[in-house]
Symmetry: C2
Subunit: 544 residues, 2 copies
């Protein structure tokens, strides 16, 4: 039996860290909430769910394609496939709203079965929502039906084979539904690993990472997920779209790049050939304190441009630094934090021991010249130990009536400061009624720029918690687009970012993507309402 997350929150019951005891005080001082639990998780029986609507013809075709036992419409599976894991998703599910859950969940076992399912849905006119790890925070797995009556969740979990390992070329061919830890576990027997570590690592699948252009916490050193993909195989209603596993090519436009980031709108990725690396002989994580966010950005820019960037580099601004250390109960740092602008930087190197010391030494020297105060390995390891904690803690914060959500972007170094200021101002303005705490960090470095990741906390508006966040999200997205930054560095588009896609790609750019979709999916059944939604997203509600 494949492991499953809780339908109303993150991870398995009992897994993950809990809020520390002193959190209640912090939340009170900080956001004006009581710190007490005000909302309990919902019971499965209390969730509202429509009767499944699947035609006899479609059900028969699906059962022929994958076998009757892999076509399910019981309450349990429909709830597990009803939503992703954004704040808005969790608000809705916790309020008992799963009305739009998929009518049926179909789990094919390989590429050919996926193609058969897609053909059946295209013929019958049923929406297909590909589902990998289900960790989307942008509505990417929301069971939107578009013009169709029926929503079929295409559960890719059984495409979990490690098909071939080419140790010499450091390539692995794997099924798209394989979860990241499962792949790393299988590769360890060969002394290899993928080393792709998004915060959703515990649940994300390789196919999902490819479909959404995941960055992963190690992107600075190991590359974004798209750089790890040597070849991709995608099943579409019109047939197979597959690229050759070659290290590089100039044979026309790179078709991989059209499939990566297509978010299930062309078809479903079924297999990937991935570039892998040896297991890390050494991991060296450490903390540093920078005098200001600007100073820290300058230091990171210089490292990235000199080819000295660590594999992982995360610079928190002063607000996030204070929050992080306060939640961690790091009283020893209070003195340091009196330097109000002090910013925590975590650096990490992973690899062969000689490689780590060869790369770390000049970078550490450069950081010291930039007046970075070394905090030692404890501070780095503290981050590493809690790097998957965020979404677990979010459930506890939701229990306590806290608005908690993240958003992210990327911009050139020249624009980074202005983008950060614009987004902070937009969030503060939109949430002025419940003054938010907004922290920000840089966590992915490039020679020409970096990502910015914002975490927003506020007191929930109990009358309309969704509307409260929608207003903030809309303001932040508009600020990002106006500043010439990207609407998303690694969360993808899904349903929630679709309104800003035209600002990013221009009208003809969207037309070209639509043309590609029409060729692969003439019936328009693949993941309606995502990416290329021509209808206004729920983010832009009437009255905009």
């Amino acid at each position: 039996m494949r492991r499953e997350q809780r339908f109303w929150g993150w991870g398995e019951p009992g897994a993950g860290p809990r809020l520390p005891d002193h959190a209640a005080t912090l939340l009170r001082d900080w956001l004006g909430v009581s710190g007490a639990v005000v909302s309990a998780p919902i019971a499965e029986a209390d969730v509202r769910l429509r009767e499944p609507d699947v035609s006899v013809t479609l059900r028969a075709a699906l059962e022929r394609a994958v076998g009757a036992e892999h076509v399910r419409d019981d309450r349990a599976i429909r709830l597990l496939r009803a939503a992703g894991k954004s704040y808005l998703d969790l608000l809705a599910v916790r309020a008992g709203d799963c009305e739009d859950a998929p009518d049926v969940v179909v789990a094919p076992a390989g590429h050919a079965q996926v193609e058969a399912v897609l053909r059946a849905c295209a013929e019958d006119g049923a929406a297909v929502i590909p589902f990998g790890g289900g960790t989307s925070v942008v509505g990417g797995v929301a069971p939107e039906r578009g013009p169709f009556a029926t929503a079929v969740c295409l559960d890719l979990g059984r495409l979990d084979a490690v098909i071939d390992v080419d140790v010499r070329s450091r390539l692995v061919r794997a099924g798209a539904g394989l979860r990241l830890p499962e792949l790393d576990h299988a590769l360890a027997g060969h002394g290899l690993r993928l080393g792709h570590v998004p915060q959703s690592y515990e649940w994300a699948t390789v196919g999902g990472c490819a479909a959404t252009r995941s960055a992963g916490q190690t992107s600075t050193g190991f590359g974004r997920f798209e750089e790890l993909v040597a070849a991709v195989r995608c099943a579409t209603p019109a047939g197979e779209l597959a690229t050759l596993a070659v290290p590089a090519s100039a044979a026309g436009p790179d078709l991989r790049a059209l499939v990566l980031g297509s978010e299930g709108t062309l078809g479903a990725i079924t297999e990937l050939v991935l570039r892998v690396r040896p297991v890390a002989e050494e991991r060296r994580y450490e903390g540093w304190l920078l005098r200001s966010f600007g100073d820290g950005c300058d230091a990171l820019r210089e490292l990235a441009q000199a080819g000295l960037a660590p594999d992982i580099a995360r610079l928190s601004d002063a607000e996030e630094t204070r929050t992080t250390l306060a939640f961690a109960g790091r009283r020893g740092f209070e003195r340091v934090l009196r330097r109000r602008a002090a910013c925590l930087l975590v650096t990490g190197w992973e690899g062969a021991a000689a490689d780590v010391s060869r790369r770390r030494a000049p970078a550490a020297r450069a950081l010291r010249s930039a007046a970075a105060l070394p905090l030692g390995r404890g501070a780095g390891e503290a981050w590493r130990a809690t790097r998957f904690a965020g979404p677990h803690l979010r459930d506890a914060l939701l229990d306590r009536g806290v608005l908690v959500e993240t958003l992210e972007t990327a911009a050139t170094w020249s624009r980074l400061g202005a983008v950060r200021a614009a987004v902070r101002d937009a969030l503060a303005g939109a949430l002025a009624g419940t003054p938010p705490a907004v922290g920000c960090h840089v966590s992915h470095l490039y020679p020409d720029g970096a990502s910015l990741y914002f975490t927003v906390f506020a007191r929930q508006d109990p009358r309309d918690p969704a509307g409260q966040w929608l207003a903030a999200k809309r303001a932040a997205g508009d600020a990002i687009a106006a500043a010439g930054a990207t609407i998303t560095h690694h969360h993808a588009v899904g349903r929630d970012h679709a309104p800003w896609l035209a600002a990013e790609h221009g009208p003809l750019g969207l037309e070209v993507l639509r043309a590609a979709k029409e060729r692969c999916d003439p019936a328009g059944v693949m993941n309606p309402g995502k990416l290329l939604s021509s209808t206004k997203s729920f983010i832009n509600q009437p009255g905009d």
Copy 2:
């Protein structure tokens, strides 16, 4: 006045190296040609050229778009825009065949003028052939008319502005028609350079490098051209296709990748935002001798996988090593060459002095452990001094009745040996009547594989020199496709590789590219017969 190459050969008259005196003996011993000049360059007046066919309406529209003085149909400009620089191109031009030269050459001054030209041609129904540096070796600038009577050469040479330099983000926005040396010269004032150095460096434009996915000799260290492109702006008959200048994004599929490699079939690239780097404080090139090609590949694979690859690494097989040293008249190496399998490796590092020594030391140690015999900096500098010589010397070889052409591919490390053997066998078989000398080198390293670059010399068959090469090219292309390698690592597709594109991308892949083209270029005027040619290329002649 913009500098121009000779219409019948490479470079400006008198530029470039000449064949050494001992070359005649070598050619005789080696290929059985006399070594004497048997074919003189053709005079402009002797070339066959049709009268230009441009409708009055189209001419008026073009003149309105760019000004009458930039709409030319004189013999001189038509010859200069009649062909690229492949062996087949030069055979045809040297034989006086420019029948298909463009009817008119139009030189717009900026994005808006390019759009106006494209609109005029789409309305009138005239083929548009974008022309940058004109260095294509795959028929990419061949003035094919498709179904149209008129061929308009879109000369991008006047889009040569350095529009903006963002020193902090190390980005430059430049016009697509800027030549590589012109850009590096302009950037030097800021202490920067692009550092992209294909063999065509002296003439290639940045737009051409983008449209064809150039690799460049420094690709191992600095990245392929597509990795240097932060943003692209493209004029199409349906309007502008432009991407945002951000360091990374997950906002759907990467539209840059659809424009890069589109080879003028969607529209014409007009501007690029390029990632640049500091001018090199130090350059360290050196030579090594490896015991065999297999040993050398193993050593390079280990460097690439350990993150220790030099910025430039070129490993010649034994045949190419012997040829190189013999042409260079390096008698001192005779003893070494008696080791018949000995293979020359050139490594190069460029950057800040500390950076070069930091990166070179562990790589040099690894090479010594792989039993590489150091030949010192002289051997490396000798390669660097002659790295643009090939196409110049080709003209002298053509004068002497030598067939000389190159082709290239890339494959995973596991397949590299088999691909090399298959291509060599195919070339030897197809040219059995005039036994060829085939040299090969690896010149672009990736963790998962490498490029293979073949140089073929043979005695020309004077009865049908084009047919002689076509048979060899067809055999080599088929061998590459059958071995699962890419039909081109950096020469692009143009007209000559189009027959193998379906093997690379699959039928649906080609359909998707066609769908994108139809959206941008509904009239089908953009570079007909290239990339997506549905008609059989001239490479695949009747009887295949």
